[in-house]
Structure formats: C-alpha cells, structure tokens
C-alpha cells in the first residue's frame, strides 16, 4: 500500500500542501512543476538574482507566501521534486513529461492534480496589439521581474485581482490611468453579507479601492473596454458605460475577467466534467474532499474551480488526507474535519466574490465581424459566425474542427471562453450546450527535437 507511487502535479499552494501532508504521513511523493521555483502563480518567486523582501513581493500575504515556500523547502529531502518540468500528456497510470528539452515518462498509482488557473480573457478591438496584456501578466511583470508595464496603464476587466494589481502598480510608482470594472457597483454591495464571512479579506479589498481613490485614480463600474487605440502599440483605450463612449490615454492595458481553471490534465485522465453556472464553464466533478470521478485522481486548488489561494492550501491538504484514507493508510481524521469546516467557510466567501464580480458574458460587448477571436491563428468573429450559421454548429469541438478556433498553439486557453460565449449567443442554447473543448496532447507545444526528431 505505502509502495503506491503518488504524483502531485503543480507546486502552488494546493500542490505543496498536498505533498507536505503525504510526507507527514510517511509517503514520498513525486512533485512535478512547470516553474523553476515553487509557489504557483500567486506566490511565484522571482529568479534568484533578485533581492526583494517578502513584504515587497507579496504585501499582506507575505506570511502565507513564506508558509508555502518554507513548507516546500522543509519537505525537499522527502520528495522527488521535478521543477521546470511540463506534463504534456496523461494516460492511464502514466504521464508524459518534458524537461531540459527531452521527453520522459513517469508512472503513478494515485495522482493529485493541482494545475492552477489562468486569466479569463474576452476580446475587444486591438487586443492583440503590443501593449495589451492579461491582468496576470501585469502582476507577473512586477512580482517575478520587478518591472512595470506602461508607463501609463489601464486595468480593464473584473474580479478582486483587478483592484489588487491596480493597487500594486500604483504603490510601485506606476501611472495608473484608470480601472474599468465590468461589474456594477450594486453587485459589490449585494455581495457584502457573504463577503463579511472573511472580514479581513474584505477589508483588504476595500483598502485597495480606497488607496486608488486617495491617489485620484478613477474607477468606473459597469464599464467595458471597447478598443485599444494606437498604430503599432497602444496609445489609449476606448471604453463604454451605459452606451456612452470615452477615450483614456495610456501605453498599456491589462485585462482579465476573472480566472479559468487549467483542466487539461484532469480531462486527459478521464475525469467527468459538469457545467458550473457561476464560473460560466465546465469544471471537473470533485467532491468536498478532492475526489474526482476517477478513483486514482484527486483534484485540488484553482485547477478544479476558482477558489483562491487560502482555499487551495486547505484543499491540497484535504485531498492528500482523502488519498491516504482511500489507500488504507493511517491519517488524521480530526484534521480532515477541521479542514472541511474551513473549506466550507471559504467557499461561502467565494460565492460572495462571484456575486460581487460576476464573470460577464457578451451581453454588452461590441463584437464586430473583423474582431479577432483566436489570437494564435487570427480567426475573426465574422469567420466564426459564418461557420456557425453555414454548418449549424452548436458545439465547441465542431467549431474547432471547422474554423481552427482552439487549435492553435494555446489550445484554446485564450479563446475558449469567448468561443463558448459566441456559440451560446448564436445558437441560443446556453453555455452548457456549447460544451467544452476536449483536451488534446500535447497540451502545450513540445519541440520535435525533444522526441528525437532531428531538426530539418
């Protein structure tokens, strides 16, 4: 039983806490991570040449970041750690890896998938121009590279990250020209009862907003980006509110309408998915303890539905306890009960955030036929609409087959939310009936040289 090989994918808050829990119970897990250093996106560590304090990097979350980083450092002798390693395929009991330019294979008996999230982006005119970046990119530039996009930058989208990154940029000396939030202010007021479940977190959010206000940085609610202006690079942003358009001068736009779970590995492992209305996408089925629809597969953290870092830490630990229980290994049941309580409270707070910052559909978006939906292969909304109408397409994989939307290098990571919204709009059948893109290996590009094919 304890000879079972357990693999954890992802060294963010969920994966590290899962690995730590396995180690504490006498199991030596394999921990695979794409990044060079642990922490995931939220607690991402800069390259070693940087000398910055935890407070400078992570603000109020510095103790939590330190907790996660220290946990990884502590268990290092007791795990098989594979940083800078991409899992590009998953099969029954086996993973295909890419590390140092070569492919490798690893087998597993049980697996905890903690693959995290990416920005949920929705297109607007000019969104492929240099100077338009994802919201996560803006934060990574600052946290991982000590650099600011800009100099003048507008933040456009929605979600708690919108205000956090705007605050971080302003505090670091950036010229933040404005914050454009698609969520109406009323939604944030309505969410207060749920948000009060985590008063400290709520207070931080209110502080970011007050900080922006004190600096004279305008924040517009119920507003949408319409067009990034400029020839070659960004010179401004047209945005709209209640049908009124306005231009704002800037050199960069950071955009994101919430987050999307990275679910490709769970999909390749055969996990069942179901439609989640609040996140407007399909997510792998998971029970409260992290068990998926497959006996050998556990899911934790933002990769199984957006819950945030605090929830991810607990979900990682909880999934490891479930795994230990399922293989008949001794484990701390009292701790599992405590975690279940904390996870419940954090999920309640999350519901509040989803009320405050609802992931928007295309209701008020201006989607002209010449607007690019797929940035990999520059396929337009017009091409997609014509294909949908001519072939009576009502499902995403069919749309992919006929237009190549979702078939480019990013495998739909950038365009899938928009493509699903478009299909739902055209077919009138709703997002659930638009389905989801099936994951295809390799889930990220693998050089032919890595599998032994000589260069041309």
């Amino acid at each position: 039983m304890s000879t079972d090989r357990v693999v954890v994918i992802g060294a963010g808050p969920a994966g590290i806490r899962a690995a730590e829990t396995l180690v504490r119970n006498g199991i030596r897990p394999v921990l695979i991570d794409e990044a060079a250093r642990g922490g995931g996106q939220i607690y991402r560590q800069p390259p070693r040449a940087f000398r910055r304090s935890g407070k400078d990097l992570y603000g109020w979350e510095a103790p939590k970041a330190d907790g996660v980083h220290s946990a990884l450092a502590r268990i290092m002798p007791d795990i098989d750690y594979h940083p800078e390693t991409l899992v590009w395929n998953a099969r029954e009991g086996k993973l295909d890896l890419l590390r140092a330019g070569r492919v490798a294979e690893i087998s597993f008996d049980r697996i905890i998938v903690a693959t995290g999230a990416r920005d949920r982006v929705l297109p607007f005119e000019g969104w492929t121009m240099p100077g338009v970046f994802s919201l996560g990119a803006a934060q990574i530039a600052l946290k991982y590279q000590g650099a600011l996009l800009g100099p003048r930058i507008v933040f456009a989208g929605t979600g708690p990250l919108l205000y956090l990154v705007a605050y971080q940029y302003a505090a670091a000396g950036a010229a933040v020209a404005g914050v454009i939030d698609s969520a109406p202010f009323g939604a944030q007021v309505r969410a207060l009862p749920d948000l009060l479940r985590q008063p400290v977190t709520l207070a931080k959010g209110l502080f970011y907003r007050a900080f922006l206000h004190a600096r004279g940085i305008p924040v517009w609610n119920a507003a949408l980006p319409v067009e990034a202006l400029g020839s070659g690079t960004v010179e401004g942003l047209t945005w709209s509110r209640k049908g009124q358009r306005q231009d704002i001068a800037c050199d960069a736009v950071a955009t994101g309408f919430g987050l999307c779970s990275e679910t490709q590995i769970a999909d390749l492992l055969g996990c069942k998915f179901e439609y989640d209305d609040s996140q407007r996408c399909y997510l792998p089925q998971v029970d409260g303890a992290g068990r998926s629809s497959r006996a050998e597969v556990y899911l934790a953290g933002d990769g199984s539905g957006i819950g945030g870092a605090d929830l991810a830490e607990r979900a990682g630990e909880r999934a490891a306890l479930a795994l230990l229980e399922d293989i008949g290994h001794s484990h701390d049941n009292a701790r599992a009960v405590v975690l279940d309580g904390e996870i419940g409270k954090l999920r309640h707070f999350r519901r509040g955030l989803e009320t405050a910052f609802p992931a928007p559909g295309f209701g008020d978006f201006q989607l002209n036929d010449d607007l690019i939906i797929c940035r990999c292969e520059e396929i337009t909304f017009g091409e997609a609409r014509r294909a949908i109408a001519a072939n009576e397409i009502s499902e995403l994989n069919r749309l992919k087959a006929l237009t190549r939307i979702g078939m480019g290098r990013c495998q739909g990571r950038s365009c899938a939310p928009a493509a699903a919204e478009l299909l739902a709009q055209c077919s009138g059948g709703g997002l659930a009936s638009a389905g989801r893109l099936r994951a295809q290996a390799p889930i990220k590009p693998v050089p032919l040289a890595a599998i032994g094919v000589p260069p041309p």
Binding site: R118, P130, S134, Q145, A147, E378, C410
Partner: protein, 99 residues
Amino acid sequence: MDMSLLRRVKSTDRPTLRFRLNGAPHSALEGDTVLTAVLAVSNHLRVSEFSGQERAGFCFMGACQDCWMATENGDRFRACSTLLTDGMSLVVPDSGRTL
C-alpha cells in the same frame, strides 16, 4: 524614441548581461526573462505568422504561447519562461512577414 513596453523598478542593482537583438547589442540584468530583456528595449518580440502584425506576448505565464522566439542558431523557446543568458543572440522577423 522610447520603444520599451516595460521598465524595471525593483532590485535593479543586479549584474549586467549582454545580448543581441537582430544583431544590435543591448544590455539586460541577471534574472531577466528573455521577454523582459526584449520588451525593455523593443515594443515587440515576434510577429504573427498570419497577419505579420507585431506581438509582445500576452499572459507571461506560459499559457497563451504568444511569446515564442528564436535564437540565431534556431533554438526556439517561450520568452516569458526562459531566463536570458549572457551573450544570447535573438532574432525577431521583420513585421509584415507572413507564412
């Protein structure tokens, strides 16, 4: 004319690295990704194979695949997740060049 899309503001006392972009010499700092090094001196790091329009990456986290670059000797990599090494010679095709 300042073509940069980003500027370094933290921990800027790192050792200097040299690199070439289309043959022209530039400097960067140890710990820079290729993306940071290039966007600190240029407004793009690749061109779209379809329209020939310039691109400057998008997600910086290895998801969007919009920052694939190449060295003079043909090695290809994602600029956001590759650290610059001293003496790298990078190539960005001319804008307007398509498949």
